[in-house]
């Protein structure tokens, strides 16, 4: 690390195996090394042929514990192909944020893992949401802790019965899965 800090840089296109000071180890190809920020930009998955999608890592060079040289590759960035569409980026971010918000609503706060898995299972067939630690199904049937069929309340008898059955089934399924593991 000391050597790099003193002016050595990583050559673009190098395939490196890197160990970080946090104990992480990975392999990647150097996209660039940015001197001012001391950031090494790498891409993973070049060799695996996992398609055009890569994992990009921006790693502070001073957190590299050790690395080894695996080979030299082509410069991964072709300047002639470096196009960016700001609208696309904005749209992507907006959709990602929306998705994150939607996902966040699906995560119960302060609930057990079992409750969350029950929630996820119920959500596959019924519209569900969290009301604190209570699962609300179809906006009328409430399943509160400990999420047993007996704890299903509210809703029309048919809906109530339906939720109970699904809950029972999912509980069994989760149990069997756990036993299987």
């Amino acid at each position: 690390m000391e050597a790099q800090a003193q002016g050595e840089e990583f050559a673009v296109g190098c395939m490196l195996s890197i160990k970080t000071t946090l104990g992480e180890e990975f392999q990647g190809q150097v996209i660039t090394f940015d001197r001012p920020s001391n950031l090494l930009v790498l891409q993973e998955g070049v060799k695996s042929g996992a398609g055009p999608k890569r994992n990009i890592r921006l790693l502070k060079a001073n957190y590299i514990k050790e690395f080894s040289f695996l080979g030299q590759g082509e410069d991964p960035l072709d300047v002639n192909k470096c196009f960016l569409d700001l609208n696309t980026l904005q749209a992507r971010e907006e959709s990602a944020i929306r998705q994150a918000e939607a996902d966040a609503e699906r995560i119960g706060v302060g609930v057990t893992a079992e409750a969350q898995s029950l929630f996820d299972a119920l959500s596959k067939t019924l519209p569900v949401r969290w009301d604190k630690t209570t699962i609300v199904v179809m906006n009328e049937v409430r399943v509160s802790s400990p999420y047993l069929p007996e704890s299903v309340t509210g809703g029309t008898p048919a809906a109530n019965e339906r939720v109970r059955k699904v809950l029972e089934f999912e509980k069994k399924r989760l149990q069997s899965r756990n036993l299987g593991q």
Binding site: E8, S37, L39, K53, N55, K81, L84, A91, R92, E93
Partner: protein, 556 residues
């Protein structure tokens, strides 16, 4: 590997003179800047100095000297060995990771443009998607046929979405974005009403005369748009007419009309194009009629379609019932276009009759019906006249139901639309019936193959039917659910087939007849429809009465 800085510079020059030249001058290298921008909006994991890991959406980065980043919707997924002001598990709206704390940023599944065109293509697709939305807005907003023409291609693509929107809009009028444009459309439409009406008149006529419908049917995307457009034009015209006549009557009606109007613009653009040529000849005559009630009547068929949509929005029972008729009307128009021979049969006329009958039911005077019947015999040539006669039956409401159906039928898309409508309807008090009817309608077209003859029967039966109709309607309610589903599937399937072959024309024709019959009692028919071919005979007698009855009952 490490190498001397000078070497890197040389390499950079070989890569790109621009990049090499710029790199030393910028606080952060171009490549890093580019990479940073590539991961904007991507979910990333950020490792901090204390070992904690935060997951969030990469929002932006500071590239001035220090490289700090901003995450959106971040949450800690791994706790570090230092106390942080972030609670594990909670969602942080915006998280700033200072350069000092930053160890690593990991973005997974990134498409680097340099890795191929894929990244770029992805961008294009996004833009295209945005374009669709814009097109939709335009369609909804643009009333003028000329503009719509320009957007034809887009329309074909967007129609699906537009239709869906329409269906949704019916359910929730105020919520839709289109709403604002609707008013404008209406105004414009009013202004253009005369012209449009003329066009509409011409359209049906053209279809009958031209007999070029078969090719249209065959090609779903290109041709169908025209089909739909024509149907849409009819609808639009009708809506316009209805709007003019009914504006004062009720706000809800206006809303419905507006909804229909939105849909109409789409169809209008294409339909107007086709119509213009043919329509111009007759436009003069039509224009005169338009001014009067007769004009309205002409539009009545199209109007019906429009109103049907409005009905959906209104979710009123009568409207719902009506929709089937509308589909029938549209179908008839289409059929006429498709089958040149159909003109002779004057299926369109029969359709018109059907429409009129509904109108009658709506409260239109009985006398009108006779006139319509006579008109039917008149055949395609005098369809306009017939229409005018029908127009007398100022049944804006009734027409509206027709509109709904028509919309659904309009394209291959129609099936989709109809289901949506059905759902909307379901919300209403009589969900089952509505759905069943819609479905029936769809199915009915497919079965319709029997052709013009069915239509013909429809005419005769229609007259007789009036008494029967009420009974039929009742029965229809029961039957509708069962029949509807079966019909739907067959209907969809049939359409493609028909399109492919010459038979398509016949099918289309057939479709129309069912519609007529179905208008009110399509459902009743459907029970028989499953049989399909055998159904024809059954359909004919039943359908006609049913329709009349439906209208009468509903309107009553």
């Amino acid at each position: 590997m490490a190498c001397r800085k000078g070497e890197l510079r040389e390499e950079g020059k070989s890569r790109s003179a621009a990049a090499a030249a710029a790199a030393p001058l910028v606080a952060v290298g171009d490549a890093l800047l580019f990479t940073t921008m590539c991961i904007i909006g991507m979910p990333v994991d950020v490792h901090a100095k204390d070992g904690s890991v935060y997951s969030g959406i990469f929002h932006t980065a500071s590239v001035d000297k220090d490289y700090a980043i901003v995450l959106k919707k971040a949450k800690m997924i791994k706790k570090g060995n230092l106390e942080a002001n972030v609670v594990n598990g909670t969602l942080i709206e915006t998280l700033i990771v200072q350069s000092d704390d930053l160890v690593q940023v990991v973005a997974k599944g990134v498409l680097l443009p340099s890795n191929g065109i894929t990244g770029y293509v992805g961008g294009n697709s996004i833009e295209a998607a945005a374009g669709y939305i814009e097109c939709l807005n335009k369609d909804s907003g643009v009333v003028k046929p000329n503009e719509s023409r320009g957007n034809k291609k887009h329309k074909s693509q967007t129609r699906f979405a537009a239709k869906r929107e329409n269906g949704f809009s019916h359910a929730d009028k105020p919520t839709k974005v289109l709403g604002s444009s609707r008013e404008d459309h209406n105004e414009r439409l009013d202004a253009m009403k005369l012209v449009k009406i003329e066009e509409a008149h011409t359209l049906p006529v053209d279809g009958r005369q031209g007999g070029d419908g078969s090719p249209e049917m065959q090609s779903d995307t290109h041709n169908n748009p025209e089909f739909q457009d024509k149907g849409a034009t009819n609808e639009v015209q009708g809506s316009r007419l209805s709007i003019t006549t009914y504006e004062a009557q009720s706000a809800p009606a206006v809303n419905t009309l507006e909804d229909t109007m939105q849909q109409e613009p789409k169809g209008l653009s294409s339909g107007s194009n086709a119509l213009e040529d043919q329509g111009q000849d007759r436009s003069d005559e039509i224009a005169c009629t338009v001014a009067t009630a007769t004009n309205i009547s002409i539009a009545s068929v199209p109007i019906i379609d429009v109103k049907s949509e409005s009905c959906l929005s209104a979710s009123s029972n009568p409207f719902l019932l009506v929709p089937p008729k509308n589909s029938g009307v549209k179908k008839t128009a289409k059929e006429s276009k498709l089958n040149p021979g159909a003109k002779i049969f004057s299926p369109s006329v029969s359709h018109h009759i059907m429409v009129t009958s509904p109108a009658m039911a709506n409260g239109a005077s009985v006398p009108y019906l006779p006139s319509t019947y006579t008109m039917a015999p008149m055949a395609t040539a005098q369809e306009e006249v017939d229409a005018s006669s029908f127009a007398h039956s100022p049944m804006p409401v009734k027409f509206a139901p027709f509109n709904n159906v028509a919309v659904g039928n309009g394209g291959s898309d129609a099936p989709y639309v109809q289901p949506i409508i059905g759902q909307v309807i379901n919300r209403t008090p009589q969900p089952f019936r509505y759905t069943g009817q819609y479905q029936n309608f769809q199915a009915s077209p497919a079965y319709g193959h029997p052709n013009v003859q069915n239509v013909m029967f429809g005419r005769g039966p229609v007259v007789c039917m009036h008494p029967i109709s009420s009974d039929v309607v009742q029965s229809a309610a029961g039957f509708s659910p069962a029949t509807a589903r079966p019909l739907l599937t067959p209907h969809q399937v049939h359409l493609p087939k028909h399109q492919g072959t010459a038979s398509a024309q016949a099918l289309q024709l057939c479709m129309a007849p069912p519609i007529l019959a179905s208008g009110p009692q399509p459902f009743v028919m459907p029970s028989s429809i499953p049989i399909q071919q055998p159904l024809f005979p059954v359909l004919r007698p039943i359908a006609v009465p049913a329709a009349n009855g439906f209208l009468g009952t509903k309107f009553a």
